[in-house]
Symmetry: C2
């Protein structure tokens, strides 16, 4: 298909597609003449993935670039590639040498150990959780960390369902795309479902009988 049809099918404006081509997010079409190129279903699929990462995932273009690069890199072992994708998606916590943060980090490491998780101690998410604990303690909620055991249990359940789902996709390329989509979209869905659960739980406890 021509670039116009690609845009119409994906619902993306022409200047936007040209921008993605210039930024290298979308691979170039197959040239048919000096100023014409053809695009196929792989382009369409990639274009939809880019839109999803930006619109639903709220990722900046540079992050989209990193994530796509991780999907496209051949020859990495699966769990390394999954790690690279996850790293591309993650916003690192503010760096600090605050003793309260060091203490909070130890609490997260204890949670990881208690739940028997196998996680590299270089994972940025450990610091993100530690940063949440520290901020909440500063705001007068040192006890929030006691809730996190429930979060760990719940996430164990979620991760098993997620990994089952992507493992069933079979082809490595599909698995990786599934991981990206599942991370970004799953996060949006999870946050919304947690709020629905809050609404339901507090309606049952505090609402009119």
């Amino acid at each position: 298909m021509r670039i116009g049809e690609l845009g119409d099918t994906a619902g993306v404006a022409l200047p936007t597609i040209k921008y993605y081509l210039r930024e290298g997010l979308l691979p170039p079409g197959h040239r048919t003449s000096r100023n014409q190129a053809q695009y196929d279903d792989d382009h369409l699929r990639r274009l939809r993935l880019i839109r999803a990462l930006i619109e639903v995932g709220g990722l900046p273009v540079a992050k989209v670039h990193d994530v796509l690069a991780a999907i496209d890199e051949p020859g990495l072992p699966v769990h390394k590639m999954l790690g690279a994708v996850s790293k591309g998606l993650c916003t690192p916590a503010e760096a600090t040498h605050d003793p309260a943060r060091t203490d909070a980090r130890r609490q997260v490491e204890e949670l990881i150990e208690r739940h028997g998780w196998q996680v590299s101690d270089k994972t940025a998410e450990i610091d993100i959780v530690a940063s949440v604990i520290t901020r909440l303690a500063e705001l007068g909620h040192p006890g929030f960390v006691t809730v996190l055991d429930a979060y760990f249990e719940a996430c164990q359940r979620i991760a098993e369902a997620d990994v089952d789902y992507v493992a069933r996709l079979g082809k490595l390329e599909d698995v990786l795309e599934g991981v990206v989509l599942g991370t970004v979209f799953g996060e949006a869905a999870l946050a919304a479902i947690r709020r629905l659960a809050h609404q339901s739980t507090s309606a049952k406890r505090f609402g009119p009988a």
Copy 2:
């Protein structure tokens, strides 16, 4: 304390504090002369809450305004006030009359019913989840909805822990602040913990023995 000390204690620059005062996020200090005012621990606490919502929650100033207004409004029944806070925190899904979206919405309503949740059908989060289902189907993942049962179960567990925590805070004002903090920070923590769980689960399944 004077405004300078307030800023130093909270780690917030003076022009930023003045901006929050102008925008009505932070209530004015107690005037002691024509151009001096005193601030107390309530100001400090509120200032830290504002910073947290902006920095960790990534909320724009207008949203922070709505959320604080919900906390400050007296006389609303608790579950209504919780709803208002949650609404202030929520980014609505794109509006659409797409039949696929209507179908996805029905799937979410079925999930809510199957799990026995008590949720208003006007809740914006229903459309957010429906929008995720629709986008994933467009991207070749119509089966993702099957994973959502696990998300509902997990969120039930999380919401109970969250509501237990805030209910223990006792004073209504503290409960509401707890809900805001728990929603925003809990979401950040949950997303990070889910990624840790992914890493662990895929390391166990796909990693070197």
